[in-house]
Subunit: 342 residues, 2 copies
């Protein structure tokens, strides 16, 4: 019996890149039992549903979820902003307790990157609390006296588990280096909890070297010297910003994969490329499936298919052939997986 | 009578770069009545005071404050982290109601920047509220059940005045383009207040083109295409991150000037380079005073010395001579100001 994987192609180029990702998985010989699940902007417009409870329960019954992209065409006004983000993407992270958002960044060919720097690091982003908790409210809304409060909720439970995951991750890598990124000099409550927890967990990992950077300094370092990082652990919102920045300074957003993990395995984890739906490219066969393939590789790794996962990672260590189509890129990496280029 | 300017050289290379900035101001012929004020890490270690009330009142009695850099040597543990930031830098922003933090970014020579892109934009950062308000608290601190709440407080009053300032700023520039940066899809309360206020003020500025970017997307754009921006207006914390990023993708942090403004002029405004104290370079005559000089130019502009300010800006349109010392760089720009290179 294969792994049961719910496949949400989603919107725009989502289904196109997922098709190539599945093609490459197939080339590894690993058998997946996939079920297509319709969700996203098109589904919402057709049905009025963002994510109904039955679909959520159906997703829960799988070993993993592979997702392409979610979102309406830019400029479309039929889907109110935030509805799909909060009702679908964030809801899945919260409901499935996907408390680790792991995003690997590695330059394949620095000479064609914006910054031309070598880098190989992983960002571990807290994924179920912080400023994403939705805490807040208004006073005197719509008047000259309006106050809008927006809260960040951070728990020892939530911070400790992601910090611990990050230490494990750092320990598994040759450099064994972990940097906490926060803004402790200004966010004194959240920052204090993060720093104390980080220091306490660090005591259990004497073999892991640690560092701390303020988020503003980290943004400079990512541009000027991304090679300094090995593993970064950070808060949900800082992680959101830093991972897009990290993509931009390494191989680009087309090469940003992500794994939304529930390491406690109380339910399926979710794997998705970071890029958007790019509706303008639908049907042109020009989308780059690299990040979707990489995300599928992370899925196999998490499902225990280590050999297949490392074959995919090895296959992805070269850029796709210039001007190859989406399909050709999928074929190219499937070929490399089959013939064991590593 | 000259403008009364309180000069806080501060720590590390602060006094060195300020000396050059004052040299260049002098070259414009504008007369300043300067008073040195001792504040910073060294002052704190010597006196135990971060900023006493008498000094604050003394600062208030000036037309402007010019500040070099504040902060202990990296690795020094005598000054607890956050004490100077909150007790001095942030306290001045709050007490003097410096609600606009304006940071200009312009590539002088893109070929020597990390990203090699042309850019010329200004970031207007809200400077007295948001996540910097200090709202928050703990529950069950130090236990497994700990919750740390960190709040962002945003008022119509505070958002509107900085947004209005940004529209004025955009109107004064040839491109007349203003981008709001926030994370409205996740920070629904704060984001809603910012969006509504932005839209309402925009209606009064039909000649200014507007755009909106999520902060994560803005980080990508700043790296891949910084030239797209003209004026950015954003929240205090996003502004902190984006201005360091903006410095990194334009000419570097050595070229990042800033103006902490109270446009209502109920007290002095404060001008400071964004870079730190760089204690390791003290006395080596290698600090780059460009950003301090640029900050002093912004000060003259704000004091109504438009001609002198534009002479400084024109003088700064070339990089300093290679391997020039701090003093030589000051002399170089003073010379350019005197001979009217523009
Ligand atoms: C779509 C959005 C809600 C999401 C986030 O903010 O986390 C995205 O930017 C991401 O990084 O996965
Ligand atoms: C020193 C620190 C408190 C400050 C900030 O966070 O605003 C600095 O990073 C800045 O950008 O001026």
């Amino acid at each position: 019996m294969g792994h049961r994987v719910a496949v949400i192609g989603g919107d725009g180029i989502g289904p196109e890149v997922i098709r190539e990702a599945l093609k490459v998985v197939e080339a590894t010989g690993v058998v997946l039992e996939t079920r297509a699940v319709e969700l996203g902007a098109a589904h919402y417009l057709a049905t009025g549903e963002v994510l109904d409870d039955a679909t959520l329960e159906f997703l829960r019954s799988h070993d993993a979820i592979l997702l392409g992209a979610i979102g309406p065409a830019i400029g479309s006004t039929e889907v109110p902003p935030g509805v799909l983000e909060r009702g679908l993407l964030l809801r899945l992270r919260f409901e499935l307790d996907l408390y680790v958002n792991e995003r690997p960044f590695r330059t394949i060919d620095p000479s064609v990157t914006v910054t031309r720097r070598e880098a190989d690091f992983v960002v571990i982003r807290e994924n179920t609390e912080g400023p994403y908790a939705g805490e807040g409210g208004f006073l005197y809304r719509g008047t000259a006296h309006e106050v809008a409060q927006q809260g960040s909720l951070n728990t020892r439970h939530g911070v400790e588990r992601v910090v611990r995951y990050a230490f494990e991750r750092a320990r598994s890598r040759p450099r064994k280096h972990l940097t906490l990124v926060h803004k402790t000099n200004v966010l004194t409550y959240a920052g204090d909890l993060w720093s104390r927890t980080f220091a306490e967990v660090a005591a259990e990992y004497p073999d892991v070297m640690t560092a701390y950077n303020h988020v503003d300094a980290a943004s400079i370092y990512l541009v000027e010297d991304p090679g300094r990082y090995d593993v970064i652990v950070t808060d949900n919102l800082f992680g959101d910003i830093l991972t897009d920045l990290a993509a931009a300074v390494t191989q680009g957003i087309g090469y940003a994969a992500s794994a939304n993990l529930n390491p406690a395995r109380t339910g399926p984890s979710l794997f998705e490329p970071v890029h958007g739906a790019a509706h303008d490219r639908v049907g042109t066969n020009t989308a780059n499936p690299w990040a979707a393939i990489r995300s599928a590789g992370a899925m196999l790794e998490f499902l225990g298919e280590h050999e297949a996962a490392s074959r995919i990672e090895a296959a992805l260590s070269v850029l796709p052939p210039p001007s190859a189509t989406t399909t050709q890129i999928g074929d190219f990496y499937a070929e490399r997986v089959r013939h064991g280029d590593r």
